[in-house]
Amino acid sequence: MTLTSDEIQAILREARHFPHPSAAAIEALNVVQRSHGWISDELLQEIAELLGMSPAELDSIATFYNLIYRRPVGRRVIHYCNSVSCWMLGAEDNRRHLSEKLGIAVGETTGNGEYTLLPIVCLGACDKAPVLMIGDETHFNVDPARLDDILGETGAP
């Protein structure tokens, strides 16, 4: 896996907005993840070099953010919130339901490469807890029944 010239151009474009190219680290990671789906060690090395950072520095940023993936993920990542409000209002029930329905534990990807299940911290919608994200969409007041609806809608296996 190597960076395409389009990606390199996009990264350098971002980097030019700042006095220090490393300030574009997050955007650069996003650019690459959009096309590759996740950030492999090789890609990380290449991006770090483009931005004049050590791989460790860039990885420190990459691993800090929940939405940057350092391992392969499915086409859609289910991020269920397990912070305190959601946890109190049934996050764990939803998690169990998802695991049973999709046949995957937290951190795993379905065999057909469709879904990956991951926790996430508070999504800032505690008043509509429990909350989860599937791909880019956020779903509120989720319970197992609603999950069946949603996953049906989004093409569950």
Partner: protein
């Protein structure tokens, strides 16, 4: 040339020393902390008023008062970030506020009349709660943890009173990494205080240790397994308040702190003179830890100094006398043999050593006479040291301590790569470039200890650092400008800088326009700085470079009347400067004396001559001498050719005085009895009953050493009639540790050479700093106990930082302007050899430590890639450096053109490189030139 110098920029100590051998502690050093002078304030702690310094944070102030307050993330050398929340105290709004609120002491500036509670129930409950949270993921594995017994986390846990964990959930676990030969990694013990990354990245400039992920699975390590690259990684062992990072070399022969016998010592692996505490158990040296010194190493050592101790117990260690004919000798036979050989000698040439103490060298000098006493260093280095001393004695030049170096606001490095030759100095220079950041913080009213805020405000702003050197250096990343050139050109640049500062200094003809411009820029930066500093040394073996430094120093002093110029000269070995001050003869003179038949016996003290001159010369010298006697602790090529070898005590087993590159004489003490039959080098040489007699005789006979008796109290010193124990009270197993050999407890050995005892009995408190073997205080078992021994947190040692400065106080009145050297002649298709130094590799003794040797480079000849291409040489191709010495070519981008860099001092490359040797590369099959 300037008039009389009245001061320098750093205000060195001026107190007159007294004869420390009579007892009492050495002079007190006047503090010179960062920033403007601080006015005194009062704050109220738990109802009692205390004086504190304005500008401090509350945690610093509380600790400086000698009170206890738990903390993790704050570090006196690194300031505050408020990461761990452990230092909470209650702050009250005013006199009527009875409730107050929790504040982080490390993030709260002190203010006049401030009221706080340290001991209130809410404050205590808060801190116990934080500790409990920090411990939720900790594995409670103290019994198998190498931090145990000197762990800041243990101490703080006890201090908060939190004893029972309520957390019953799963603990997160991590995979540990292999971080190379120096450091163990056990991430499960981490409490996420962030000290390690702040130290490694912010303080040392390392970029391969990072923090990964977030919340309770943060991970401190490398991006992948591998050697921690920074030369100061070993300090992680002491910076990390838990057992995440521990000393891997210590693990192999681990012992608890309380079972180690230690002594106040001085590092012997370069000229800086960092203070150390070596620890012994069962007759072997187990580890080195930092011993705080407020003017030199502060809290930090370099990795060569910390991990280079292996030679003391190493496979090449000499435990027995031996004769070339009969092999091993017992002590009395060896003594007789020595006496007979010396009586039989038709003239003795004594060769001293820059890695032996002043006393050992002096004993040799007394034995052979001043005329026959030789320095035992390469002639190029000898010349450099003479020039260097000439400058120090005659110019208005102030040799800075490392603390002073940290305060410099413009730095010029000429010809040196300090990270490789004087490592701890490089770490100080890395702090010096932050003075611009601190100035910005001052403008914005941000206290210096507000670490994150200062860094945020300053962004990438740095004080100017200029580096002119033959090869890339490890400080290039913080340099304003770098210039790669041959030593001669570097010297010419330096002379041009001097001319730019003071037009009376002769101009340099024929400089390139780039060098003209650079010289002007440097001159401008140095003149406009408040505390300019010039760093050079013997690294590139160029007297021209040293003379250029003298010229700049004189020019600056002329431009800034009344101020001496701050300089630091890196010298290669722990007593290079001390030996130079003894005015010994050169090695060439020794060779001549033997060659001419004036003498037929060589008496060599702690020196391998094959490291000092080329093989042919040394072979000839050793062959020509009828009798060769070597006194040393480690077997080497010279000892192998000696007729008689006498085993000497290593630094860990003997005592004496060393003079550091700062011109500071420091006493080091034995941590253990000499191994096997070895004894103090000087005990083989003379009739001296004990060290004090020898030290005093030296002080009396050479005026420059007059004050050295004051370095530390002498052997007669007592505290309430008692000696100072080298072992902690809790030292265990003394009655049983030798029971497999003898069931009677052996009598503890007497120490007639110092006021320290090989015992756990003795005076437990009030040790003068020069005699303090280890830091330990009630409730403080870890190295953080050092706070109890300082005049203020991160300040000087109470009672004064040890050591006496002998030279370099800026009193020199001047030399005539020196004439800049000419451009070097072009030498067609030849190159000029320049030594390239390696922190791991170039020092003789530390290379006997397998961990250090593992980090050393393989021999090479480095060429700039264009030169290599021009000469038709490819990376890895073998070339002949000297007859029958073949080395692979290494293409080193950034190396100055026209130069061939050869690693200095590698054991498997016994070809000392002297400056200006020209060399024409031969490839296999070429005709030999």
């Amino acid at each position: 040339m300037p008039d009389k110098i009245v001061g320098n920029d750093f205000g060195p100590p001026k107190a007159g020393p007294k004869d420390g051998l009579q007892g009492g502690s050495p002079h007190k050093i006047v503090g010179n902390g960062f920033g403007p002078p601080k006015a005194g304030l009062h704050i109220e702690i738990d109802g009692k008023s205390h004086p504190v310094k304005a500008g401090e944070n509350l945690l610093q102030a509380i600790l400086s008062l000698g009170l206890d307050l738990p903390y993790f993330c704050w570090h006196p050398a690194m300031g505050s970030v408020g990461a761990c929340r452990q230092c909470g105290v209650i702050q009250f709004k005013d006199a009527n506020d009875a409730q107050g609120r929790v504040v982080m002491a490390c993030m709260t500036p002190v203010a006049e009349g401030m009221r706080i509670s340290l001991q209130g129930p809410d404050a205590k409950a808060f801190r116990a709660g934080i500790l409990e949270l920090l411990m939720t993921n900790h594995p409670h594995d103290c019994p198998v943890c190498e931090e145990g017994g000197e762990c800041h986390l243990q101490d703080m846990t006890v201090m908060t009173g939190h004893t029972v964990r309520q957390y019953r959930g799963l603990k997160r676990t991590h995979r540990n990494q292999d971080l190379g030969p120096f450091i163990n990694h056990e991430m499960n013990r981490c409490i996420a205080c962030y000290r390690c990354v702040r130290y490694y990245q912010d303080y040392c400039g390392g970029d391969d240790l990072q923090v990964f992920a977030s919340h309770n699975h943060v991970y401190f390590g490398r991006q992948e397994d591998g050697v921690l690259e920074n030369e100061f990684s070993g300090n992680l062992v002491e910076v990390c308040p838990t057992g995440v990072f521990t000393d891997k070399t210590f693990s192999r022969h681990y012992s608890r702190k309380w079972d180690l016998q230690t002594a106040p010592s001085v590092c012997v692996h370069c000229g800086i003179g960092c203070n150390t505490s070596p620890g012994e158990r069962y007759g072997s040296l187990r580890r080195i830890v930092n011993r705080y010194h407020g003017e030199i190493n502060g809290y930090f050592l370099c990795d060569r100094g910390r991990f280079g101790y292996g030679f003391v117990n190493g496979p090449a260690r000499l435990y027995q006398a031996r004769s070339a004919e009969t092999g091993p000798l017992d002590v009395s036979t060896a003594e007789n043999r020595l006496r007979a050989m010396l009586e039989d000698a038709k003239g003795i040439v004594g060769i001293g050593s820059p890695r032996a103490s002043l006393e050992a060298n002096f004993a040799l000098r007394e034995r052979v006479g001043a005329e026959r006493f030789h320095a035992g260093i390469g002639d190029a280095e000898h010349g450099c040291l003479r020039t260097l001393l000439d400058l120090v004695r005659n110019l208005p030049l102030h040799l800075v301590s490392l603390r002073e170096a940290e305060r410099a606001d413009a730095v010029l490095i000429l010809g040196e790569d300090p990270t490789q030759t004087a490592p701890r100095l490089a770490l100080a220079l890395r702090q010096a470039v932050r003075n611009r950041a601190l100035a910005i913080a001052d403008e914005l009213g941000i206290p210096h200890w507000q670490d994150a805020a200062v860094r945020e405000a300053a962004q990438a702003e740095k004080s100017p650092l200029f580096i002119a050197s033959p090869a890339p250096t490890r400080l290039d990343d913080i340099a304003a400008r770098t210039c790669r050139a041959s030593p001669r050109t570097i010297a010419r640049l330096g002379f041009a800088v001097a001319h730019g500062i003071c037009p009376e200094a002769p101009a340099v003809m024929g400089l390139t326009p780039e060098h003209e411009a650079l010289a002007a820029e440097i001159a401008q930066a140095l003149t406009s700085a408040e505390r300019p500093l010039i760093v050079a040394g013997t690294g590139c073996l160029s007297e021209d470079v040293l003379r250029a430094v003298g010229q700049i120093a004189a020019a600056l002093a002329a431009a800034r009347p009344g101020r001496a110029t701050a300089v630091h000269f890196a010298v290669p070995e722990c007593n290079s400067l001390g030996l130079a001050l003894m005015d010994a003869q050169s090695l060439a003179h020794a060779a001549h004396t033997i060659e001419s038949g004036e003498a037929d016996t060589l008496l060599i003290l702690e020196n391998d001559l094959y490291r000092r001159a080329d093989r042919t010369t040394v072979d000839a010298l050793l062959t020509r001498a009828r009798q060769v006697i070597v006194i040393d602790h480690t077997l080497h090529a010279t000892a192998e050719r000696a007729h008689l070898v006498l085993p000497a005590a290593s630094f860990a087993e003997t005592e004496g005085t060393l003079v550091s590159s700062e011109g500071r004489a420091q006493r080091f003490f034995a941590a253990m009895q000499p191994a096997g039959d070895s004894r103090d080098g000087w005990r083989w040489l003379g009739p001296w009953p004990c060290l004090d007699d020898l030290t005093r005789a030296l002080a009396d006979s050479l005026p420059v050493f007059q004050q050295i008796t004051a370095c530390a109290p002498g052997a007669a010193f007592r505290i309430a009639g008692q000696k100072i124990p080298r072992q902690p009270h809790r030292y265990s197993g003394r009655t049983a540790m030798l029971a497999d050999i003898r069931i009677h407890e052996p009598k503890q050995p007497e120490d007639t050479d110092s006021a320290l005892a090989f015992s756990m009995e003795g005076a437990a408190n009030d040790h003068p700093p020069a005699l303090n073997p280890f830091v330990w205080a009630p409730g403080w078992n870890s190295n953080q106990a050092v706070g109890k021994f300082q005049d203020e947190a991160g300040g000087h040692l109470s009672g004064g930082d040890p050591g006496i400065r002998l030279i370099g106080d800026g009193a020199g009145t001047g030399l005539p302007w020196s004439v800049p050297p000419e451009t070097e002649a072009s030498i067609a298709d030849a190159l000029r050899l320049v030594p390239l130094h390696h922190i791991f590799g170039s020092d003789e003794t530390s290379m006997h430590s397998s961990a250090v040797a593992e980090r050393a480079p393989h021999p090479y000849v480095a060429l700039n890639p264009e030169d290599a291409a021009r000469l038709g040489l490819a990376e890895g191709e073998e070339v002949e450096l000297a007859p029958d010495v073949w080395l692979p070519v290494k293409c080193l981008p950034g190396l100055a053109a026209g130069i061939a860099g050869v690693p200095a001092g590698l054991p498997d490359l016994p070809v000392p490189v002297t400056a200006w040797q020209s060399w024409k590369p031969n490839k296999p099959g070429d005709e030999t030139s």
